[in-house]
Amino acid sequence: MNTNMPLYELRDLSKSYWRGGESIHIFDNLNMSIENGDFIAIMGPSGSGKTTLLNQLGGIDKPSTGEVLFEGQRIDNLSQGQLAKWRAANIGFIFQFYNLMPTLTAAQNVELPLLLSPVKKSERRERIATALDIVGIGDRAHHRPRQLSGGQQQRVAIARAIVADPKVLLCDEPTGDLDRTSADEILKMLQVLNQEMGKTIIMVTHDPEAAKYAKTELFLDKGEFIRRERK
C-alpha cells in the first residue's frame, strides 16, 4: 500500500434527494481527501449536508453518484452486509444523543461491538475495562444509561466507539447536548485519542469552541467546502 495514500478519497461525490417532484442537491461533484491521523471539524449551517456527508464516510448511506474510497478501496459499491462488516472493523460512531442501549449496563454497551468479532472472553473483559478506563468512567461500569449524566453517557459512547480499535471515529455533534465543562472534557478526550492513539477523527459541530480542538476545519456551505488548517 502506498504510504502517501489518503485514508479517504471522495471523487465527484453527489447526493440529492427527491422531494415534492424536484431533486434537491445537497452537494455536487465533491472532491476531497482525508489524511490518516487528521482531526477534522466540519461546520456549516443547519441543513447544509454535514450529517449526510458523515453518513457517506461511515458507509451507512450511499451517494447518488461518485465514489467513496477508503484506503484505496471503493466502499460505495459494497453490499449492506459487506458494509456492516467494514463498519465493525474500521469505524467508531459517536452521536449527539449518545444512543446507548437503555437495557444494558455501561460495560455491556461497550461490549456490543465485541460481539461482532471473535474475541476471547478474557480478552473481552480486559478490553472493556481498558476502554472504560480511558474515558475515565471505570467506576460506573455497572450503571445503566438512565443512572448516568449526559457527559458520562457520552464517555460510555466513546468507550463503545473505541473498544474494537477502529481507525476512524465519526462524531455527529458529540457535544451538542452537553454543558461547556462536560463538552470540554469530551473534546479533550477526543484530542487525546487523536494524538496518542492515532485515531482519525471527523467531527461535525456547530460550536466554534469545539472546532478549536481539531487540526483542520471544514466549512460546508451550499455544497462547497472551505478548508482551514489550524496547525
Binding site: 461511515g58 452486509g81 463498519r87 444512543n99 437495557t103 455491556q108 456490543l112 463503545r160
Partner: protein, 385 residues
Amino acid sequence: MNNFSLVLSNLGRKKLRTALLIISILIAFLIFGVLGAFFKAWNAGTEMAAADRLISVNKINFTVSMPIAYINKVRSTEGVKIATHASWFGGYYQQPRNFVQTFAVDAPSYLEAFPELIFADGQREAFLSTRNCLAVGADIAKQYQWKVGDNIPLKSNIWRKVGGSDAWEFSVCAIFDGNEENIGANYAFFHYDYFNESKSFAKDMIGWMVITSDNPANNDLIAKRIDEMFANSFAETETSSEAAFNKAFLAQVGNISLILTLIIGASFMTILVIVGTTMVMAITERTKEIAVMKTLGFQTGRIFSLVLAESIIISLFGGLLGLGLAYLAVSAIGPMMATAMPGMSMSLQIVLIAIGLMIAFGFVTGFLPALKAMNVKIVDALGKS
C-alpha cells in the same frame, strides 16, 4: 454477554408487558392442555378399535338385545375367526354417582377377541375359573382402591336378581390393563353365565356381538353375511367395524371434537393477534436502537434472529407454564372424572404437539416484528432525534 443475554435484556425492558404476554400465552396453552386431555379421552374409543374387529348390534338400537343363540350361528359363518358377546350391566358402587361401566361377557372368547388386555401372572386363569369374578380395569381399581381378593357389591339400575335384589356380589380376582397407553382400562367385566343365571328377566339374551375377521379386507363381506343371516327375524342385526361403531356412538352425543377445535382455535387466534401486535409495537419503539446496532455492524440476519428469538422465548416460556398448569389441572380433575370421562390425562403426544405449537406460535408472532427490525433504515431512524 451473548445473543441470549441480549434477548433477555430486551424482554426485561417492560416487565409488565412481557408478563402480560406470557400470561396470555399461558392461558392459550392451559386451554389447549386441558381440552386436549379431554379430547384424547373422548377419542380413546376409536383409537382403541382394532382393524379386524366387527360389532354386531340389534338393528333397532344398540341398547336392544338379541338371542344368545345367534353367537353359534355367527361362529360358523365363513370368515369369522372369533365371535364373542357382551351385555350392558351398568353398575355403580355404593352410590349412583360412583358409576362403574360393567359388561357381562362370554369370558374365554372375550379375552381371545381382546388380546390387548393384559393381566398379572395367574389372574387371567383366576378370572376364567371363578364364577363371580369381576375383572377390573386398572383405572377403576386405582380410583376405588380395589385390590385382588376384595369382595365388591355392585348395584345395577337395570338388572335385578331373581328374588328382587339389585345388589350383585363380586369378587375382584383380576385387574387388567391395556398393553398400550391409549387402550382404556376404565371398565369392568364378569361372566355372562353368572349374569344369565341370576338375572330376573331377559334370560338368554345378549347385548351385542364382537367378531374378529380372518382378514380386515373381508370385514364388509362378513358383516353382510351376518346381517343377511338374521334378516327378517325378530332381532335383525347391524354389523359394522368397531371403529365405525365407536364413531357412530360418539356422533350421537354431538360433534364435540369440532366444538373443542373451535374453542382452541378461537383462543389461539385471539392471543396470536394480541401477541403479534404487541411485538410489532415493541419493535417500533426500538427502531432507533436497532438502527444503532446496525450502525455498529450487526448484520440484518442477526437482528432478525434476535427479534424472532424474543417471541419464541416468550411463547415457550408462557406455553410451558400453561402446559404445566394444565397438567396439574388434569391430574386434579382426571380422577374425579374417571368414570364419566375415563382416560383423561396429559399424554406425551399432547405435550409434543403443544411444544410444536409454541415454537410455531413464536415464529408467527415474531416474524413480522423481526422483518420490521431487519428492514430498519439506519439513516432514517437515526435522523429522527
